[in-house]
């Protein structure tokens, strides 16, 4: 079956190679993000994930495997903030919108003019104290554009709407309390006139939530918590989880020790996808708090899982928990790629999820059934997923223990892949995955909850995983359920991926290389050394001049680059929750920065 499917996919790939992606519209059973409402390729990049299906696939093909070697810098732009640049530049019309890490400047760059000079700059002036409660650098993962408005979140938990043309503030709402450790770093998603946002703070005992705000006024339409009673989680009669483990009343309370859900985490700081046909949004919930799992016996619903919710009402449709009673800080917030394709001979609406725990899940996005969960990276912490019950099986030897160091848990807390999103090309049928090849030694410790301070309860020391290299970039054949190719990277790959119709894959490395690979073979076609490490999300757009551009923010930071961005001391193996120990040499490889690089063919 798989062989047949692969053959079909390759055949289709060949078929559509001559045309652009728009044409796959006519192939309803082909590998296609169509149903997930990808607009026709308009050359813009309106949301961080490019489209509701989160493919990060650009239909532009001017830059292709043959000519990418000639790529040159078109222009650069300094953001003026030398912290981790995780955002995706947003391109709408002739303007590019770039949101920086704290202090969360929003820039509008005029693409119609040579060198793309700034049109305006919006300074939201968030509370500087918020820097103290951002677990892993003061990052922001991008803005979103809709209907002449740009939406973004600030570190001190505000959502702000700005007039795209003038840079004037339209509204702002305070959604969280920094005194409880609540921050916002995620990129909003615009769905049917609503701004969907969530909070961060899983390392501070912050109770996670997702909220839909009216795009015109900022008022909350609905808000769903990730822990607590059903009423607050917006679980109602429509809630039909596929697996027995997720069924029951008030599991957000009963799967926790009394009152522990109030500090239970499950923050929504990652990616949201949307299926217009089913009118469902899909998003993951973060790790339960604290990391020390002994302090929270039970499955800790609804953390470290995925919700499908009605986009209008917020009512939960289904839920699946990647990591019941999460042991390893495996937030379940990674991107969900919505695909329609043949599975087991049937056309199905799928949801593909490369999860932190190293498994690549393929799910039926209508029901929440797990169709497959294949390891895409070396794993010791878990022993696979039981597809009957849907439960992840933990490796008892690697369960963190209080007062004992448990060694060589792979993947480590950041997972085999963290928030940094993958990209899917319908032309190759491959999913392009940035990897983190890091393992960890951990000791669970007592965790003291003091509102507004970290609530972790784990001493962590990370180190290179099997092979000694700390990163990988690979292509995963979804239909064949196997890896197509992989290349090793010295440092963890903390940038997002971009794939274009020119069959080129772009990503950046922690030491500052921006690379272009052949989407089919993984061959390195071109690379450029930027001024700082890259942890941002590359995007492609068609400029007002009709040319294809590729843009990426360079500026090391985030959890992986904290050693550089925060000037941390590698003599302490537990610095930055242990990540510093895995990249003690990063300070020699790069320095802080904050520059937008835009490339084009000459």
């Amino acid at each position: 079956m798989n062989i047949a499917l692969t053959a079909a996919a390759i055949l289709l790939g060949l078929m559509i190679q001559s045309s652009t992606a728009q044409e796959s519209n006519s192939q309803p059973d082909a590998i296609s993000p169509r149903s997930a409402a990808v607009q026709e390729e308009d050359g813009q990049w309106l949301m961080a994930a490019k489209n509701y299906a989160s493919t990060r696939f650009s239909g532009l093909d001017e830059i292709n495997a043959m000519n990418v070697k000639d790529l040159k810098v078109a222009y650069t732009f300094s953001t003026g903030v030398n912290r981790g640049q995780e955002a995706a530049p947003i391109v709408a019309g002739g303007t590019m919108y770039v949101v920086t890490p704290f202090p969360n400047y929003l820039y509008a760059l005029d693409l119609t003019k040579p060198g793309a000079p700034p049109k305006w700059k919006f300074e939201p002036n968030p509370d500087p104290s918020a820097q103290g409660i951002a677990c892993c650098d003061v990052v922001n993962r991008g803005a979103a554009y809709a209907d002449g408005r740009v939406f973004f979140n600030t570190l001190d938990s505000q959502t702000i709407a700005v007039d795209a043309e003038t840079g004037k503030e339209l509204w702002r709402v305070q959604l969280g309390d920094i005194n409880k450790g609540e921050t916002m770093t995620m990129a909003p998603l615009l769905v049917k006139g609503k701004v969907i946002v969530g909070n961060s703070g899983g390392e501070y005992g912050v109770r996670g939530w997702i909220a839909a705000l009216d795009a015109t006024t900022g008022t909350t339409v609905w808000k769903a918590f990730s822990t607590g009673p059903d009423a607050e989680v917006l679980i109602g009669p429509d809630f039909k989880p596929f697996y027995a483990m997720d069924q029951g009343k008030d599991l957000g309370v009963t799967t926790w020790p009394p009152n522990a859900w109030e500090q239970g985490g499950g923050n929504v700081w990652g990616w949201i996808s949307y299926d217009p046909e089913l009118n469902l949004i899909y998003y993951g919930t973060g790790n339960p708090g604290p990391w020390n799992a002994d302090l929270r016996p039970g499955d800790n619903k609804w953390t470290a899982g995925i919700f499908a919710r009605d986009a209008d009402t917020g009512q939960a449709r289904w839920f699946y928990q990647w990591s019941p009673h999460d042991l390893y800080d495996h937030d379940g917030v990674n991107e969900n790629i919505l695909l329609n394709m043949q599975w087991d001979g049937k056309a199905r609406k799928l949801l593909v999820r490369p999860e932190r725990n190293g498994h690549l899940y393929v799910m039926d996005r209508a029901t929440g059934e797990v169709l497959s969960a294949d390891p895409f990276h070396a794993i010791t912490g878990t022993l696979g997923v039981d597809l009957k019950t849907g439960r992840l099986r933990y490796n008892p030897e690697k369960e963190p223990k209080v007062g004992r160091v448990v060694r060589d848990i792979c993947p480590a807390a950041p997972g085999a892949k963290d928030w940094n999103p993958s990209a899917f090309s319908p032309r190759t049928g491959l999913l392009y995955l940035p990897h983190i090849n890091i393992c960890m030694d951990v000791e669970a410790t007592e965790a003291n909850y003091i509102a507004g301070t970290p609530y972790v309860g784990m001493e962590v020391r990370m180190k290179a995983g099997p092979g000694g290299h700390r990163g990988e970039f690979s292509a995963w054949d979804i239909a064949a359920r196997k890896e197509a190719w992989t290349i090793n990277e010295k440092f963890p790959v903390w940038s997002g991926a971009l794939v274009t119709a020119g069959d080129v894959v772009f990503y950046g490395t922690l030491d500052g290389w921006f690379k272009a690979l052949d989407a089919r073979s993984g061959e390195l076609l071109w690379q450029f050394k930027t001024s700082s490490g890259i942890i941002g999300q590359p995007v492609a757009y068609r400029g007002p001049d009709g040319k294809q551009y590729v843009a990426v923010l360079s500026g090391v930071g985030g959890w992986s680059g904290a050693i550089v961005a925060g000037d941390l001391d590698p003599r302490d193996a537990t610095a930055a929750l242990g990540f510093v120990n895995a990249v003690p040499d990063l300070k020699q490889a790069t320095t802080p920065g904050g520059t937008l690089y835009v490339f084009a063919l000459p």
């Binding site: 309370v253 926790w256 302090l295 016996p297 007062g403 509102a451 609530y455």
Partner: protein, 338 residues
């Protein structure tokens, strides 16, 4: 053997009861403690007899009538009696060995008996030793029936209980004399102690392994209830803390949440979630404060909060600069946390 031990037990008990009543270690409250006590009396009886015989023998050998010094070389002295002495000594050594074998076997039998007391249906309670207090966690039921409290263990009468003992810092030792022997809490390992209690009541104990400055004030209370009473206690403890009633208590809660208290203590249902010090959600329902160093009275509580270092020098609870209004309001608040 049985009657002998009972008899001597009775005699000794009478002797001891003369002043203060039976020492706690010899006043069993459950089968395990009973077996240990039985073995103790049996050993005591035998050992007392042996000691008495030795002292008698010593006295006799000193006092026995001796012939006048015959002037012989001391080297030859008593040579005539040596053979009989050899026989007696050999016999005594043999008897000693027999007694020791008997004692060893009875110790083994008791040990096995204690091991067999462990029923299959046991309630497990996790005890974690801290300098210098006891964290008590019930986690047998579902996660929502997980209960954390401190320094006071409640158990139903007649039910097999297994304590899981661990330590968070140094070695402590769990010892409540009336329920049986002690067991160390060793960092890096989990030890167990099994017991059943027959009689409802309050049983006191304290840390038995030297654990630092306040080893002397690491008290522990075990309360054995009839089953239904225990269930009532348990379900009331599961509830979050009562909201403060009255202006003073409300001010007390505010003070609690804004002063040092909130750094270490939990009051469930409020933002106070400190886990390095005893859970205070239902502190007023407990019988003691400061690991049972003081009784649970307003005065004692006030003394403890106002100056912990005067009550337990070296303890980890610091003195907080509170004015008397703050102190009183905090007391009012804590007193409502039944």
């Amino acid at each position: 053997m049985r009657t002998g031990s009972r008899l001597s037990a009775a005699i000794l008990a009478l002797f001891l009861a003369g002043c203060t009543g039976l020492p706690a270690g010899l006043d069993p409250a459950g089968p395990a403690a009973e077996m240990i006590t039985g073995l103790f009396w049996w050993f005591t009886a035998i050992c007392t007899a042996v000691w008495a015989l030795v002292v008698l023998g010593l006295g006799a050998s000193l006092l026995r009538a001796r012939p006048a010094d015959d002037g012989a070389s001391p080297l030859d002295r008593g040579s005539a009696r040596r053979i009989s002495a050899t026989r007696v000594v050999t016999a005594l050594v043999g008897a000693t060995a027999l007694v020791l074998v008997a004692l060893t076997i009875s110790a083994f039998i008791t040990g096995r008996g204690l091991a067999q007391l462990r029923g299959e249906q046991v309630r497990t309670i996790e005890i974690t030793g801290h300098q210098w207090w006891w964290e008590v966690r019930y986690s047998d039921g579902g996660p929502a029936e997980t209960l954390a409290t401190a320094n006071e263990i409640h158990v139903p009468v007649g039910e097999a209980v297994r304590l899981s003992l661990r330590s968070n810092d140094v070695i402590h030792s769990f010892w409540i004399p009336r329920i049986g022997g002690k067991q160390d809490l060793v960092p890096g390992q989990v030890n167990h102690l099994d017991f059943t209690i027959d009689k409802p009541g309050i049983y006191r104990g304290q840390c038995a392994e030297f654990c630092g400055f306040q080893h002397a004030h690491m008290g522990l209370v075990l309360v054995a209830h009839p089953r239904d009473e225990f269930e009532r206690w348990f379900s009331s403890q599961l509830k979050p803390a009562q909201a403060p009633r009255g202006a003073e208590a409300r001010a007390g809660q505010q003070a609690f949440l804004s002063r040092s208290c909130v750094m270490c203590h939990t009051v469930r249902g409020t933002p106070a979630g400190g886990k390095i010090a005893p859970d205070l959600t239902h502190i007023a329902s407990r019988s003691g404060v400061a690991a049972n160093t003081l009784p649970m009275t307003r005065g004692a509580l006030a003394a403890w909060i106002a100056d912990p270092q005067a009550v337990k020098p070296g303890a980890h609870m610091p003195r907080t600069e509170l004015d008397s209004d703050e102190l009183n309001s905090i007391l009012a608040y804590l007193e409502q946390l039944k």
